[in-house]
């Protein structure tokens, strides 16, 4: 095996990077692939609780990088899926404990044993971001259909292009089809037009994501979750499958049809 390394990042905080990392990880493992998720947010450990593995942590990323334990000792096995692992962030240290070179070395050690290494990047554009991006073969930029989040996504796209890691792929999270239909939310095409970047998936806003996070069991495991399905499709696309994009905003109701009749061409 030679793992592909994908970093999930955003610039702006709170757009759903950690949720995306956990769900894509779970969904890739469900496809029979061997996956390790790394929490790159040193000092603010979170991926462990989203994956429901917080009670199993003994060692963390910084323990491995500083040579206190071997890599294998810090790999936490998922409780549900055999081929899914987590390397948690250190809670008591800060981002300067790790360098971009350290991350490249660590992921090179992981490459032979996995199909995918997913790195959950911290928000911002400083050291933590640079650590997370340094080893990436592919960068997934998470955004929300909102002016501030798209602006920050553009900044990130510029930065990763400058580091020759681009162009990356865009994941639009917390998408509300009804609002787009009403003309009160940026549509997928608007965002792609402004950012000029390729899409990897659109995840609808969905209460099941919060419920899943409450339980520590990512929505991608829930067959009835719409967001879960979107994440499973993203995993299939990463795995090289040609999965058509769901056109969420076109699932027209009566009102949608009326408004389109009245304002043709604006749907």
């Amino acid at each position: 095996m030679t793992a592909k390394i994908a970093t999930i990042t955003s610039g702006k905080g709170g757009v759903g990077k950690t949720t995306a990392t956990a769900n894509i990880g779970v969904a890739l493992a469900a496809l029979g692939l061997k996956v390790v998720c790394i929490d790159g947010d040193i000092g603010l450990r979170n991926l462990d609780v989203v994956m429901g593995l917080e009670n199993r942590i003994v060692y963390d990323l910084v323990d491995v990088i500083e040579g206190r334990v071997r890599l294998r000792q810090a790999l936490i096995k998922d409780k549900r899926q055999d081929d899914l692992y987590l390397i948690p962030a250190a809670q008591t240290r800060d981002k300067t404990a790790v360098s971009p070179q350290d991350m490249i070395r660590l992921t090179d050690d992981l490459r032979p044993d996995f199909d995918w290494v997913l790195i959950d990047s911290p928000a911002g554009i400083e050291r933590g971001f640079r650590n997370a991006v340094a080893p990436a073969d592919l960068i997934i930029i998470v955004t929300n259909p909102e002016v501030s989040a798209v602006r920050d996504a553009d900044r990130i796209i510029g930065l990763i292009e400058a580091e020759e890691k681009g162009p990356g792929k865009l994941l639009i999270n917390r998408f509300k089809p009804e609002m787009v239909r009403r003309g009160d939310m940026l549509a997928t095409e608007d965002i792609l037009d402004v950012l000029a970047i390729e899409l990897i998936g659109v995840v609808p806003e969905d209460e099941t994501v919060l419920v899943a996070s409450n339980r520590g069991s990512p929505a991608a495991l829930d067959d009835r979750s719409k967001a879960g399905k979107a994440f499973r499709n993203i995993a299939r696309r990463l795995n090289g499958e040609d999965v058509p994009f769901e056109i969420l905003e076109k699932s027209d109701g009566f009102f949608g049809r009326i408004s389109r009749l009245v304002r043709p061409g604006e749907g």
Binding site: D154, R155, V194, V262
Partner: protein
């Protein structure tokens, strides 16, 4: 927005506003030229140009634009009309 407003093709939809604002802010972000900096640049351009030619100072427009390939600084500098020149001279 209410259904009724929607039916009338209501003008209060916020998505087009979001897109316009985003495009404008990104043009400035990408070029690393703030609107204030652009305004200062415009003032200096007017000063320099006025030394050589008569221009219609109030109608000068300096904007950043972008197409897929390139960012562009566009200056639209109308010359003072002959009539205005005569007026000023007289």
């Amino acid at each position: 927005m209410s259904f009724f407003e929607q039916l009338l093709g209501g003008s209060r939809r916020s998505a087009p506003t979001a897109k316009e604002r985003l495009q404008l802010v990104l043009v400035h972000d990408r070029a690393d030229i703030s609107p204030g900096k652009l305004e200062a640049l415009k003032d200096e351009l007017i000063t320099v140009l006025s030394r050589h030619i008569e221009i219609d100072r109030r109608a000068v427009q300096v904007t950043l634009t972008r197409d897929r390939e390139q960012q562009r600084l566009v200056a639209d500098i109308p010359l003072a009309s002959p009539r205005a020149r005569r007026r000023e001279a007289g």
